[in-house]
Subunit: 457 residues, 2 copies
């Protein structure tokens, strides 16, 4: 195999985060890679034109592990720019109290990084590689059952067709590649919107010369208000990218920027001051409302074409795993190519059944986590359970693992396995609780017995 | 409104059955209509190049009613070419016995017509109308939230953009229009393949000068074999279009045309002789295997764009309602435009909630009917139930309606209502049966009481 595979050509659609990493991964193995992107090169676009629906990223263990798999030196260059967040900072409704909830047992962090910035970093890495990148190329056709011929039209509306040995779609939740692929194979597919919108907001750097961060830099800030919530993630320049999530009915019920300001002041008084009245009113008037969609499909490949990242499994952002899972897709696929000694046919065939369970698991966790972030983080039961969980984890080091730790800090445990371990632990915990109740009842009976014996003698 | 609306422009994608009828319907109301089709004009294409995965059509009451709504004279012209099928003809495994099961209470029929032929009829009607039809135009973009600008590239790969007041997608199960629309609105969507393939076969006209039909012309022929089945629908020239349906495992388990011939001879001995050994072997070797997909989505419109027919609800073919439901979509939408005095905005807004329940109902019935066609038609329980059902229908005329009658012969009863009526009837029937059992038990008890009294006196 070895040298023969080096002549194989790979066409990749989508130069977002996952597409760039996929291109770098194939190129590092010696394949001839062409990467197509619908949009212009973001490095040439005025930053004020940027998409205001980015949702800040938290890169964690799985994402870092995939970056390192592809190129450890590149991973180091990128990871220079992250801001570690060691826990959640919960802001109460008075705007006066903040409480830190640490994520990891051993100081592990998830890491804030700007999506556009990371994308540009990866594009810079591509420039150093042998990958050919073609911007402003819109995929319009994927030909024949082998899915190896792709037709694009470019920014001059000129139609061009390219042939490849293998093609990969990394073009996001609304993937045109997936749509085209699904016409030449039997792919089950579903997309489902959840009743939730989001608006991106901005907390500027502080004016304090000692500390440019207006709130703690090393936390993911949450203002949980049950039905809706606000979050904020730090940026290198001291600013925070903040996102307001709510059901559509909440935002639709607010009919003017004045009403929005009042709503915001009532619910997030400290954030109101941090963002500023003027910026808030402007954001309400002009920032787009994002919607949240879940995508699920199966299988991911027809033998010659494959989809990775959001194209295969767009998830809601509440576990901070969307990009991490997409990067892990790349690592899993590359490891299958390694395991099959460069036989991509075999790797593509093995990928879908291997990956499906894990992808489904994290999509479900992401949805469930909205409830955790917006409500449970302030419930006493949750806090007790979390305390017990972390205490057991401290005592039974590596034998008892909180779910969040497994998902965010342990790429050696697949998502589906993490869910399974958590379920077993919960069962054990319930039994222990039952045991405790049982013991208490027994104790009561014994005490009553003693009392009875004493008093009837 | 009236005359103002006449200046509105409608762009329709897909010149299949539903697209043609939609174009005719809008044109007959005075709108300026342009119809785009990906493929070349089928009337200019050599018939030997035709798609061999057509599945013959049965046009029934709902389809006819929609044709008549658009243009009664046109409906008459088209209906000249149908062959009425008044029931199912069940072929047993010996190849020697056939049994007729009549569909209607009053001789109602469903009607066989060739899909390509019907499509050409509708295109001929379009030629007589003011509709502008553009073939070999591939939709590649649907612009802005109002979904009114559509970009195509034509057979010379020239890119052209057109603007309309309203746009309609009738481009089938793999609708590009739907894909584009779903990017500018929040549309839940799912496509699911069922484990079933089909191969089209052909029964030639008989050589008997007295009767060109080798088997009864006025039945839908079924060879039900539980896991798999064969069906055949008559054509005007005396031939039958026949389709073999089976799970993929059955066809994949057959490894050569010789094995296919043996399988066919064992299971469909009379059809084997009708089709002929040579043609069967050839069909096995070269006819494509079709797959069956269900499509479901919601809502169907974003206010300016709407999807109709298979683009909105591709269903399995086992109730013979795919096209009928698509045609009914057109009638329902047109009636909403009438009811709103030409206000298409309102009609589009009202369409989705009005139509969803009925579409879901028929999609489910279609899937359930595979079991009925392939297995239940030969079970004693089913035949008794059917007998009871039809007897009650005869006795309580218009008060008791078999489900098949409501679906296929009563366009005044929406699909969802038909399902509901059937459920009520079934409940009544169960109660009656319970009543009968109760009476029997009571009778037994009385008899035993008499016996007891007699013998203990």
């Amino acid at each position: 195999m070895g040298s023969e595979t080096k002549h194989q050509t790979i066409g990749i659609v989508g130069a977002g985060l996952v597409g760039c990493l996929t291109a770098l991964a194939f190129a590092s193995k010696g394949y001839e890679v062409t990467l197509f992107e619908l949009r212009p090169d973001p490095r040439t676009v005025d930053s004020s034109q940027r998409n205001l629906r980015s949702i800040n990223l938290a890169v964690s263990n799985r994402g870092i592990s995939a970056l390192k798999y592809v190129d450890p030196a590149m991973a180091d260059r990128i990871l220079e720019h992250i801001i570690p967040m060691k826990g959640r900072m919960i802001h109460d409704i008075t705007g006066k109290k903040q409480e830190s909830q640490i994520y990891g047992l051993n100081g592990e962090s998830i890491n804030s990084i700007d999506r556009s910035f990371l994308n540009c970093c990866l594009l810079d890495e591509l420039d150093k590689s042998k990958v050919r990148t073609l911007f402003e190329h819109k995929l319009v056709r994927l030909d024949n059952k082998s899915a190896s011929k792709m037709t694009f039209f470019d920014h001059n509306n000129i139609v061009k067709t390219y042939s490849f040995d293998y093609v990969v779609g990394c073009d996001g939740a609304h993937s045109q590649f997936r749509y085209q692929l699904s016409k030449v194979m039997r792919m089950d597919y579903s997309q489902k919107y959840i009743d939730m919108q989001y608006i991106e907001l901005y907390i500027p750097p502080s004016e304090d010369p000692e500390n440019k961060f207006a709130i703690d830099a090393n936390h993911l800030h949450i203002w949980p208000r049950h039905d809706f919530m606000l979050i904020a993630l730090p940026n290198k320049d001291g600013s925070f990218t903040s996102t307001f999530f709510s059901p559509w009915s909440v935002i639709d019920g607010i009919e003017s920027s004045d009403e929005f300001l009042k709503f915001f002041k009532d619910n997030f008084p400290d954030a109101y001051d941090l963002i500023g009245e003027f910026a808030l009113a402007k954001a309400y008037d002009s920032n787009p409302r994002g919607s949240l969609m879940q995508v699920s499909c199966y299988p991911y490949s027809n033998g010659k074409g494959i989809i990775l990242g959001d194209a295969a499994h767009s998830m809601v952002p509440f576990y901070g795993q969307g990009m991490n899972c997409g990067f892990e897709d790349v690592r899993v696929l590359m490891e299958l190519i390694d395991a099959n000694e460069g036989d991509i046919d075999k790797a593509f065939a093995e990928y879908s059944p291997k990956r499906k369970g894990d992808v489904d698991a994290i999509c479900k966790l992401a949805l469930d986590n909205y409830y955790e972030m917006s409500s449970k983080v302030v419930s006493t039961g949750y806090l007790i359970k979390k305390k017990v969980d972390y205490t057991l984890a401290k005592v039974f080091r590596n034998k008892w693992l909180p779910l969040y730790t497994m998902v965010s800090f342990r790429d050696d445990i697949p998502y589906s396995k993490a869910v399974q371990i958590e379920q077993n632990q919960n069962r054990l915990l319930s039994n222990m609780q039952l045991g405790l109740v049982g013991s208490a009842v027994l104790y009561g009976l014994v005490k009553f017995g003693q009392y009875w014996t004493r008093n009837t003698k």
